[in-house]
Symmetry: C2
Subunit: 143 residues, 2 copies
DNA sequence: CTAGATCCTCCAGCGACTGGAGGATCAAGA
DNA sequence: TCTTGATCCTCCAGTCGCTGGAGGATCTAG
């Protein structure tokens, strides 16, 4: 039962998997509130900070940008409000992910074609170089 | 027949779709050779530069990092050498792309689940916020 | 001749960290 | 009690691949 525990920044880092400089960075940009200090000026954290940092980390891992996370945190801090905003944010993000996947798949096909065409012989006849040198070899126009 | 044309940096930018500061940046990091200058100190380019810059742009769009492009350019400049290196580079890159796609797909599923679970009601019961706050809601451990 | 477009260099900033220098403080063992 | 090593602090600079602005020179068209 970790209830009235007070953590150093190092302990917080270990618990959340977020590096120490990154925690300080989050504080500096206002994603984390300024941590209260001990007599010797060291930051001390409670379980609330652990949760907040985990939230941030998780959202970052899911690819949300810091600005989006800032908004999500504001919403999470105010549980009575309608969550349409959170939903919209997540949907926008989903669309972005889907478009990234599509572009990467086009890319993959291109590079695959490149690799498969290479006779492993000499640069003179290397499909990789050829494709890079001339966009006309590409199946896609998107890039 | 564009043969003995000499281009300003602006014209080169238009032809290749690469912005002027970016061209200068590529020169500064040695991806492009130092352009010869006119009497009034302006860079002037020939068709070789157009091709080289297109090569770079294309490779960047395919997601190659600048260091990889540097190597590819060295290879492209020396067509007699075996192309095993180019092939290896492209294969490494392919593997990276495939792993990125896989990770993004896991992500997409997660965010989709998040969005679909949202009752559009209040933050209190918002699946989006909930999922972000607690990784245990996730299907994947990878993140 | 003049106005506006284009060029030059230098420098600072983006996002999201990451790491090092140089110094203070803590916790544990001898 | 002393000392050693771990941990903390702040500040600053660097990463990557650009991007854009300031301030000034030069070109081109009318």
């Amino acid at each position: 039962m970790p209830t009235m525990s007070s953590l150093t920044i190092g302990a917080l880092a270990k618990r959340t998997g977020v590096k120490i400089p990154t925690i300080r960075y989050y504080e500096s940009i206002g994603l984390l509130p300024e941590a209260p200090r001990t007599g010797s000026n060291r930051r001390s954290y409670d379980d609330g900070a652990v949760n907040r940092l985990r939230f941030i980390r998780h959202a970052r891992e899911l690819g949300f940008e810091v600005e989006a996370i800032r908004q999500l945190l504001t919403m999470a801090d105010d549980p009575g409000r309608p969550c349409r905003e959170a939903d919209r944010l997540a949907r926008t993000h989903l669309a972005e992910i889907e478009s990234r996947i599509a572009r990467l798949e086009a890319l993959r096909d291109e590079v695959r074609r490149m690799v498969e065409g290479c006779a492993q012989d000499q640069v003179r006849s290397c499909h990789v170089i050829e494709v890079l040198a001339d966009h006309a070899h590409c199946l896609h126009d998107r890039h």
